[in-house]
Every structure is written in structure tokens, then in C-alpha cells.
Symmetry: C2
Subunit: 364 residues, 2 copies
């Protein structure tokens, strides 16, 4: 054994930017065997389309698993394109929307570039900015006291890329589409509208149709939430033909597996089932909001499948979070900035929401 080699220290070989890099912190994962009520990662409380079983059988029977999947997830591209009257090549299907965001950043965010975003928003954006390891800067523009975007400040900001979640997370608030489009028009760089939760918002609030006449606009989506497919890794990003072609250059050849492609296609095409479950979540959101408000919670109108709740004065959100955790109910608590005054609760099934409500009632 070579002694130099025995003493090999990986730290002296890794890129120095990684020393201080802190990865994104996903929600806790309790053991699968527990009776935990899991309302901490915005998963859908209902199962995905029942048509999936047969579609999966088809893949196995046709012996497709041994073959490489289509590079472009072509059928899914076409289904989505048809819905929005777009060219299929305006859609890049990715391994979750996380991959879409990573590719977008990698394509555009170079040394010294500035990424602008409201604060709070999806906390993966600052992580990605760091992760590029090119010395890019992250400019966080605080939301207003009412938790809405500070649109004036965002419009005045300068940067290579402006990112926001629409509706926003963790606030759940959807800004008016016209305001967002005005922001897209005025921003002197690319704008990402991250629409992970848009299916729970009012109809026709997505910015996807506007990618046609706003060449600096990109929209990302995921199958994880509204399609109840967090267990798959499928998302996509929509933009102009040219912008998407640049982003596509950086993706792995086969980034989305055949089962992921077929299950996403099947779920996407089963529109009746999708709408039924989506509407159930929206109904439950309204019911849970009223119930919690009756206990003194302040909750902005949510356009997502979660509620961002400020308990009544004197009740510590962190204490409430920990107390629910003891009772086997997981919600999300973020200990930074204005978020530390709130808890985020994913909409569960009627039964889960009732158990949550009763447990909070007892706690108070």
C-alpha cells in the first residue's frame, strides 16, 4: 500500500466552493410502517389515476424495461403541447422539476451573475445559485407585510434570472397574472414562473400560454403534487423553442425512465379523475382554513394544496409543530425570516384534516 495514497484526503481535492455549500433540506421522512399523518411535504392525499396499473403492465408485457427510454419523453411532450397549443419542442421533460431548475441555472447563471427572487419562496433557488459554484449572487426581495410580492421592488431589480413560485411557497399566495406578466415584460433577463402548485389555483392563472409571446419567460411544472406522483420523478419546463433548445443541450441523454414517462402520460390524459381529486383538495382546503380560523389562526388565501398559518398571539408556531410531531402528525416549520411566525400544513384527506384540527384544538 502506497503511503501517500493511504493518506489521501478528499477535502484537498474537492472544489473549495463546496466547503460552505449547504444542500436543500427536504421535509422529514417518517418510517413507512408508522401511522404518522404526513402533512409536511405537500404530497397529494389521494392516489394517482387508477389507469396507471394497466399502463405499467403494458410496459412490462411489451418488454420495454430492457430498452433505453425515448430521449425526449416524446409522447408526454406532445400531450402537453396539444393542451397549450405549443410546439412539442417548447417542452423539456425532466427528472422532476428539480432537474429542470438545475438545467436552467446551469445554462444561464455564470460567474458573477445575479439571481433575483422574492423572499420567502421555494428555498431551492438560493441552494441552486450556490451549487453552480461560479460565484453567482442571490438577491432576495422581501415580500410585503401582507405576504404578497413587492412587485415594485422586483420590477426595479436587475439580474440574469428572476425566479418565483406561482403560486408562491410557502405562503400559498397567487399574484394576479397581469401583474406577473408586467414583471416579465419589465425584467431585463430571464424569468422563471415555477408552477408546482398552479393546478390548485384558479383556472387560467398559469403563465404557460404566455411563453408564446414572452421570449424571456420560462415555466416549470411537476407531476409530484397535483398528479399525486411524488414517487416518480417527472417535471417539465416550457419556454421559447430557442431557449429550450439551449437548456436541452445540458440534459443527460436518457433523463426520464420509461415507467415515469408512461405513468405521467396516463395520469395527464385522465383529466376527469384529475379534476375530481383536485376539486376535493380545494374543498378540503377551504374547510380546514375556516376551522383553523375559528381557532384564531391568520391564514392568507391559498391557491395551493397547503395553508400558511400564523397561530393566534401567544401561541408559538415551533411549539405547536413539535407538539403535533409528538402526536405523530408531521407539518412543516421553517425557523428563518418571517416564516418563523408560521406553520405550513399540507391539505390531507378529510379524516387527516379532522384529526389535525382536533389535535390542534386540544393543544390550544
Amino acid at each position: 500500500m502506497d503511503s501517500e495514497n493511504k493518506n489521501f484526503n478528499p477535502e484537498s481535492y474537492i472544489r473549495k466552493e463546496l466547503y460552505s455549500f449547504l444542500p436543500y433540506t427536504p421535509g422529514e421522512q417518517p418510517g413507512l410502517t408508522t401511522s404518522t399523518i404526513k402533512l409536511n411535504t405537500n404530497e397529494n392525499p389521494y392516489p394517482p389515476s387508477p389507469k396507471i396499473g394497466k399502463a405499467v403492465e403494458g410496459v412490462l408485457e411489451k418488454g420495454l424495461l430492457r430498452k433505453y427510454p425515448n430521449y425526449h419523453s416524446r409522447k408526454l411532450q406532445e400531450l402537453i403541447a396539444k393542451d397549450f397549443d405549443l410546439d412539442p419542442n417548447q417542452i423539456l421533460v425532466t427528472n422532476g422539476s428539480d432537474e429542470a431548475l438545475r438545467l436552467l441555472f446551469q445554462t444561464f447563471v455564470g460567474p458573477g451573475d445575479v439571481v433575483v427572487a422574492p423572499d420567502p419562496t421555494y428555498s431551492y433557488y438560493p441552494v441552486l445559485t450556490e451549487q453552480m459554484m461560479v460565484g453567482a449572487k442571490y438577491l432576495a426581495i422581501p415580500v410585503l407585510e401582507n405576504l404578497h410580492f413587492d412587485l415594485e421592488a422586483l420590477k426595479k431589480s436587475k439580474g440574469k434570472l428572476l425566479c418565483f413560485a406561482h403560486p408562491n411557497a410557502p405562503t400559498g399566495i397567487a399574484e394576479p397574472k397581469e401583474e406577473l406578466l408586467a414583471l416579465v415584460k419589465s425584467f431585463n433577463g430571464l424569468v422563471l414562473s415555477d408552477e408546482a402548485y398552479i393546478d390548485f389555483a384558479a383556472p387560467d392563472t398559469s403563465l404557460i400560454p404566455h411563453t408564446k409571446d414572452h421570449p424571456n419567460l420560462l415555466v416549470s411544472r411537476t407531476f409530484s403534487k397535483s398528479y399525486a406522483l411524488a414517487g416518480l420523478r417527472v417535471g417539465y419546463i416550457v419556454g421559447s423553442l430557442e431557449t429550450i433548445a439551449w437548456i436541452r443541450k445540458l440534459k443527460d441523454s436518457y433523463n426520464v425512465g420509461i415507467l415515469d414517462q408512461v405513468i405521467a402520460e396516463t395520469s395527464y390524459a385522465d383529466k376527469d379523475y384529475f379534476l375530481e381529486k383536485r376539486n376535493l383538495v380545494i374543498q378540503e382546503r377551504s374547510r380546514l382554513k375556516s376551522n383553523l380560523e375559528s381557532l384564531g389562526f391568520t391564514i392568507p388565501d391559498s391557491s395551493t394544496n397547503f395553508l400558511f398559518c400564523k397561530p393566534k398571539p401567544g401561541v408559538s408556531p415551533e411549539h405547536l409543530y413539535l407538539s403535533l410531531k409528538e402526536k405523530n402528525i408531521l407539518i412543516r416549520y421553517f425557523s428563518y425570516g418571517i416564516c418563523k411566525d408560521y406553520i405550513r400544513i399540507t391539505i390531507g384527506t378529510k379524516e387527516e384534516n379532522d384529526t389535525l384540527f382536533q389535535t390542534i384544538q386540544t393543544f390550544l
Copy 2:
């Protein structure tokens, strides 16, 4: 519509390193309905484990698709670790081995760093070096005339990372393990042994067990070839606890879906089926090699599921490739360097190999 915005030109926003970046070129994908014999991307000719069907049903029945998968693909980590007597955290499960390679490069390959590799080898390494967009350099060390690694030149080379496929692609040659370990010991940087095809090599030739006492050694693997799961995206990388912990910092939270995890686990655990099909491929490899040699082909001993074949003098490999394509048989032809004198043929089923052989015989 803002006129400045209408004229938005993505090219002025993308990172300048992307202008000249050429993505990896995967093998051609014929339409799924054709009767094409596809021997161009080293897919397994046999189906994956028949136990997969029930495992998939289990995932659907338990309603796991709506939930986020385990971050670490924990069960798969544990199965692999047990086989090699490693700590599960020495294994990072990834979205295909492509993701493993990307994360490895991203962790270690910074501005001005040198990546060393034999030439030819897996042509994704130079693509990745470019893709890092940090001004890293790629140093290709030509193989010897007999297509074996130039071990002396590799030992003398200096760089941050040395990558090779073991067995090598597209040559199919496995260098003696002792020679590779000597190279690992002498190289003053990290060494990646990319073992995509190792299951088709002689037993006990993997470098995985040696990650225990060679802290600068990393080994990548994939389920695409020997496990007949190219349709999934599952691979992994093995190294010291410390090195893997650094690489893990950069992965997306949920990089491998629940179906991918469960199917990979099931296939990995079904060792009898695996060995049976692996042995069939090895038998066919030997038979096809003899047949082609009887037609004057020169073929190095293959430790993979493909043959790297030089036709007899006077026969153009490119012409042969195109002629087979016309007959609906796809093989791989690389038009650069020494590869341009060869064709690469994936081992198919007995019937596919016979059709291929007869078609070549007729062509000659």
C-alpha cells in the same frame, strides 16, 4: 408588448461556454413498431427479472406513488453494501450512472483542473469535462496498438481525476485488476473505474472491494446493461465514506423514484435469474465472436456484452454499418480516431445474432 422584450435573444444570456458545447451522442432510436434488430446501444437481449411485476404491483397497492421516495434509496444501498461488505453510506444511488458521473465531476473538477482518460473510452467523459464550464482540460492517452491501456503513460500522467471504463468501451477489453490497482496507487488524484459492463467480465475483477483500502478510488455501476433495466434510470457510485459524503451534497433531494428503487432492488436480489441470463450472453458472445472470426474479422477478447470488430482488409466498417442499417439491423459505428476502423456489435439473442451473421456473410 414591450419591444425590448420582443427582441429578447437567449443567446446573449446563455453562458458563453455553451456556444461550442456538443452534447453526448447516444445511439439511434428506431421507432418501437419496426422489426429492427437493435444491436447498437448494448441493451440486454433478455428481459429483466420476472419478479419485477409483483414488486411493481406492491408499490401501486401500497399507494407509494403519491409519496416522495426515500432520499437515499436506502434498501438498495443496504443490499449492495451487504454484497461487498461495505457501509451503506459508501454507496450513492443515482438516476443512472450518468448522474453519478456528473456529480463526481461537479464535486472535484474545478477551474483549470485536468481530467485524464485513455482513448478511446466512454465518450461521455470529455463531454462532462466541457459541461462543467469551468475551463477544465481533458487529457486523452491513446491506447496501445493492441487496444490495451497504455498503463505506463497513464501512470505518468498528472490530473485531478482519472476516468476509465473497466472493462473498457468500445473495445470490450478488461485490463488485469492488479495493473489497475497499481494505477490507482500511483495516480496523484481521484480515479474512477466505470464498471457499466463488469458483470460480463470474469468473476472478481471489480475494483469495488478495493474502495476499502484505496481512498482515492471510486467505482460506478449501472442497472442498464447486465440487469436489463435501461428503461429505468438507476446506477450507483461507490467510494470512501468521506468522498461519497461530499458527492452526495450535490444530488437532488429525491433523485431516484420509488418504482426505480423497488425494481432495482428486486432485480439485484434475484441472483439466480441474473446469473442465468448473464451466462447466456457470455455464451452467445463466444459463439458470435467465432462466427465473425471465421469471416476474417479481428476481434479482441471481450469482457462486455458487445464485440469491437475490425472487418477483414478491404471491407469498410462504415459501409458495413450502413448496409446492415438498410437491412434493418442497427450496430454502432464511431467515425473518429482508431474507432473508425471498427464496428461495435451488441450481443443479441441467438436468433438476432444468427440473422446478423447471415446478413454480414451475404454482404461480404
